[in-house]
């Protein structure tokens, strides 16, 4: 399943990305996913309002941004789980294509069939089914899933064996093999994240979209999973993932896209993008001017925030006491 267009050599890929402009919506030499004019409003706010975006084929691209930036909504739109707004006053329709095929108004299951498979931020493990059954459902090759063949088990038994072997291999890599006969509902939060990611990989997707894959996964396992994600890339799967942990973003991504309040605010190489003023503004408000990748900043920032909050609480308490005093004084007058 090798592909001439794909940069199996990561250095080669990085070299190409070096030449890309670090501005929001910049063109990539070999985009696998291209998005144009996609907007989604909830009531008054525009959760997503992206004008143009390209994702480089063969890259590990991180999508970052503060809480509520619209990352999950953006994923939902791209994968058919949500529908973009119609353009107002005769503007052009939203359009996005994956490997040159338009995915606008494609239903969610077809998007997955096209090879673009996603996971969910709020995990969707199938609780009353075993871990193994969860995995087997991830495959798209089991023809026994067709009603017409379902009762004729000789037609699908062989395939079932192959899929099961693949599932065991993946479960092993995700440290879930001993759990294979347990109900998915009995897994911990982090284990469910892992199961969901392993399940998505069962179909050998061309591109995988992970919504906070490492949230709740212990650091030791995170390390090995990061290795696994890079391995995945090296073997031909493009990765787009949402993540809040800047270290992880820095460690594995080739390219970073930053969203804030629904818009793309910056794009660039991981080392650079954190120093971008627009990004710092988006994360911390406009009075900071430091590198976000440096965690002492975040710690300091946290400390300042706590002091500030404390000061505000003290003020509030004083105001309340003053008010209580005045009420008591008034009551005293009336008696």
């Amino acid at each position: 399943m090798t592909d001439d267009d794909y940069d199996y050599d990561r250095a080669e890929l990085r070299k190409k990305l070096d030449k890309v402009d670090e501005v929001p919506g910049s063109a990539k030499p070999n985009p696998i996913l291209t998005v144009d004019r996609i907007t989604r409003r909830f009531g008054g706010i525009a959760a997503v309002d992206v004008d143009h975006l390209e994702v480089q084929r063969g890259s590990i691209t991180a999508l970052i941004g503060p809480n509520g930036a619209g990352k999950t909504t953006f994923f939902n739109l791209l994968t058919g789980f949500d529908i973009p707004d119609r353009p107002q006053n005769g503007g052009e329709k939203p359009h996005w294509e994956f490997q040159g095929r338009s995915l606008a108004s494609t239903s969610a299951f077809r998007v997955a069939r096209e090879g673009m498979v996603r996971t969910f931020q709020l995990t969707k493990a199938l609780s009353a089914m075993t871990v193994m059954d969860n995995m087997l459902l991830g495959s798209q090759e089991q023809t026994g899933e067709k009603l017409s063949r379902s009762m004729l088990w000789p037609l699908w038994r062989g395939k079932e064996k192959a899929i099961r072997a693949k599932a065991e291999d993946l479960l092993g890599r995700f440290k879930l093999l001993e759990k294979k006969d347990d109900y998915a509902g009995s897994l911990s939060g982090g284990q469910r994240k892992l199961l969901e990611m392993a399940r998505a990989l069962m179909s050998d997707p061309t591109m995988i979209m992970l919504d906070e894959p490492m949230a709740g996964v212990n650091p030791a396992l995170t390390q090995s999973l990061l290795g696994h994600i890079q391995d995945l890339r090296d073997r031909g799967t493009t990765v787009l993932f949402v993540e809040h942990d800047m270290h992880m973003v820095r460690f594995i991504s080739d390219w970073v896209i930053v969203m804030a309040e629904g818009k793309l605010v910056a794009e660039g190489k991981p080392g650079h993008v954190m120093q971008n003023q627009a990004v710092i503004d988006a994360y911390l408000g406009s009075h900071h001017d430091q590198d976000l990748g440096d965690d002492s900043v975040l710690d300091e920032d946290f400390a300042t925030a706590v002091t500030q909050e404390d000061a505000e609480l003290v003020k509030e308490k004083e105001a309340l006491e003053a008010y209580a005093d005045s009420v008591r004084a008034q009551e005293g007058d009336e008696n």
Binding site: G80, A108, A112, A128, M129, D133, E145, K146
Partner: protein, 332 residues
């Protein structure tokens, strides 16, 4: 009072209930409901509608053509169309819509069956007597057409009406239905259904066309319902009021008692349900003086017991007798 007589009556009644064609028809309909509710999580509250449609489709066709197989085909086609009409607009929506639409549609069918305007076909409130459509089925019997056969205390006609022939066919269909449902739900197709029951969006994200699967499930469960309808009316007669909300409620009781999402749950649950009914009827009838409870009141009292029993079941053993607590179809 003669206790010996009580026990011999009770056991004879148990036996005839266990052999009964009506019991068999309940098992078949409950197997269909199990595919809907137990395996796919479709809240169909109108399974009686499928039973009724099968019954009328079969009875009316055979009544006018005297062709048994044509009647079967019409009944099955009617059930498929009914499933599509109910499913296509609702299966893309949240589960509750299907519940509302199925109960309403089943009621509409029942009212149509009772309607005097359609009486030339349906017989209106009087229904269609078994004699109008049961001949072609009896004619298929390998046994002599006339005559009775006695086995222990059970004495039934060989081929006509509620006969041995019908019993053999009905329980044969039950066996076949269990095999078919086993093969279906243990297959990768059945696995997708169970996945849909757990989380539709997860299944969509894995590239499966959820709407198609739900439609298939609704059609197949509905076909079992229609077959149950045919079996049922061959033993009795067609009457719309026997196939209303009460029937759906009874089918849910059978299913939950045996265990939803299990292959043998519908069979075990239906047996138990009917045996409990017979036990209550015989026991109350025998031991409670008719001055306190008249013959007419006994079924009502039995119903109250059944209702309370269902409530206790759902509260204390929601997975039923055979079910797995971790894989129950409702709640978490």
């Amino acid at each position: 009072m003669d206790v010996g007589f009580y026990f011999s009556t009770l056991f004879t009644d148990f036996g005839s209930t266990a052999l009964s064609v009506i019991t068999a028809s309940y098992v078949i309909a409950a197997i269909g409901l199990n595919i809907h509710f137990g395996f796919t999580g479709l809240l169909n509250i109108g399974q009686a509608g499928f039973v009724l449609l099968g019954a009328y489709g079969f009875a009316i066709t055979v009544r006018f053509t005297q062709n048994f197989w044509l009647g079967v085909v019409v009944a099955l086609v009617a059930a498929v169309l009914f499933a599509l009409v109910l499913g296509l607009p609702t299966l893309k929506l949240r589960g509750d819509y299907l519940a509302i639409v199925t109960i309403a549609a089943a009621e509409i069918l029942r009212l149509l069956g009772d309607n005097q305007l359609l009486a030339p076909f349906t017989g209106g409130t009087f229904g269609i007597p078994g004699s109008a459509f049961s001949k072609p089925f009896s004619a298929l019997s390998p046994f002599p057409q006339n005559g009775l056969f006695q086995l222990g205390p059970f004495n039934y006609p060989l081929s006509e009406g509620d006969s041995w022939w019908l019993r053999i066919v009905a329980w044969g269909i039950v066996a076949l239905s269990i095999v078919v449902s086993f093969l279906l739900v243990r297959s990768p197709w059945g696995r997708v259904l169970r996945g849909i029951r757990e989380d539709e969006d997860a299944i969509r994200s894995l590239g499966k066309n959820v709407t198609v699967y739900k439609t298939q499930s609704l059609v197949i469960g509905g076909l079992f319902g229609a077959v149950a309808g045919i079996v049922n009316v061959l033993a009795t007669s067609v009457s719309a009021d026997a196939m209303g909300r009460t029937l759906t409620f009874e089918l849910y009781t059978c299913l939950l008692l045996g265990g939803a999402a299990t292959v043998f749950g519908p069979l075990l649950g239906t047996f138990l349900y009917w045996l409990v009914l017979v036990f209550l009827r015989d026991t109350i009838g025998f031991w409670v003086p008719s001055g306190i409870l008249s013959q007419q009141q006994i079924p009502q009292i039995t119903w109250i017991f059944v209702g309370v029993g269902l409530m206790l079941l759902v509260i204390f053993r929601p997975q039923g007798i055979l079910g797995n607590k971790k894989e129950l179809a409702f709640g978490d």
